[in-house]
């Protein structure tokens, strides 16, 4: 697998609201840049309701 393909997969999964398992564990410790943060940012910047898809946050790829 090429670097570009890995980056693409990472982007697609984040857009779907999935974040890596170990990163998700840090949410309680104050992880800032989560899918929810960007949904809120989108709402603030554009003024429209954020994509509902990314609100269905799935924590960890295996759990999905």
């Amino acid at each position: 697998m090429k670097y570009r393909d890995v980056i693409r997969r990472s982007i697609v999964s984040f857009m779907d609201g999935t974040i890596p398992e170990e990163t998700a564990k840090r949410k309680d410790a104050g992880l800032m840049y989560t899918p929810e943060y960007f949904d809120q940012l989108e709402e603030d910047m554009i003024g429209t309701e954020a994509d509902k898809k990314s609100k269905k946050t799935k924590e960890g790829k295996d759990e999905a």
Binding site: R4, D5, I7, T23, L31, M32, Y33, P35, I46
Partner: protein, 187 residues
């Protein structure tokens, strides 16, 4: 066919000093949030945002742009490759929001799609053309037929026909060769 034997010998890497490469030193940022913040700050600079929005408008997808940003930062030793993979999503999402704000149709990019951002693309977007400070060399000028009258005689270094003769007179030439009529005075 004779096999090529120009590969490195085992242990050759230990003979060169590699500390000068930023990616061989510990990265500046290893934290997820810090790395995202660094790239978001980098993108938010007026010059960067204009370039990135132009790229998105020109049809480049998020995968290409995020890969380019990551490559630059990895090669500068800002963060390691694994962090670059983790932050690709947040960075792309931020770019998507910026694109939506500017009414640009943003695409993630299809699997296997290869669209690399080259210097020529960036020059084209910046409006930098060949005639900006550099002499124009058009394709027509390069492919224009040359008439036989213009072909210099005497080979590649020969003087073109029509060029006034600038050869030195015979006396000067013999003087240059050391055949002078004037004998040096004996001391």
């Amino acid at each position: 066919m004779k096999p090529k034997m120009d590969g490195p010998i085992p242990g050759e890497n230990y003979t060169s000093d590699v500390r000068n490469y930023p990616w061989h030193r510990p990265p500046d940022i290893t934290d997820y949030d810090q790395a995202v913040e660094y790239v978001v700050d980098q993108i938010s600079k007026p010059q960067s945002i204009t370039t990135i929005m132009s790229l998105l408008e020109a049809g480049f997808n998020l995968t290409s742009i995020v890969s380019m940003l990551n490559m630059v930062n990895i090669s500068n030793g800002k963060y390691p490759i694994d962090v670059s993979i983790l932050i690709a999503g947040p960075v792309a999402r931020y770019l998507q929001i910026l694109g939506k704000k500017n009414d640009i149709d943003v695409k993630v990019g299809d699997e296997g799609e290869r669209k690399f951002i080259t210097l020529e693309h960036l020059k084209g977007l910046a409006g930098i053309t060949e005639d900006d400070g550099t002499p124009e060399t058009t394709q027509e000028a390069l492919t224009a037929p040359v008439s036989n009258d213009q072909v210099p005689s005497g080979g590649l270094m020969g003087v073109s026909p029509g060029t006034p003769s600038e050869s030195a007179p015979a006396s000067v030439q013999s003087a240059m060769l050391g055949y002078s009529d004037d004998e040096e005075e004996e001391v």
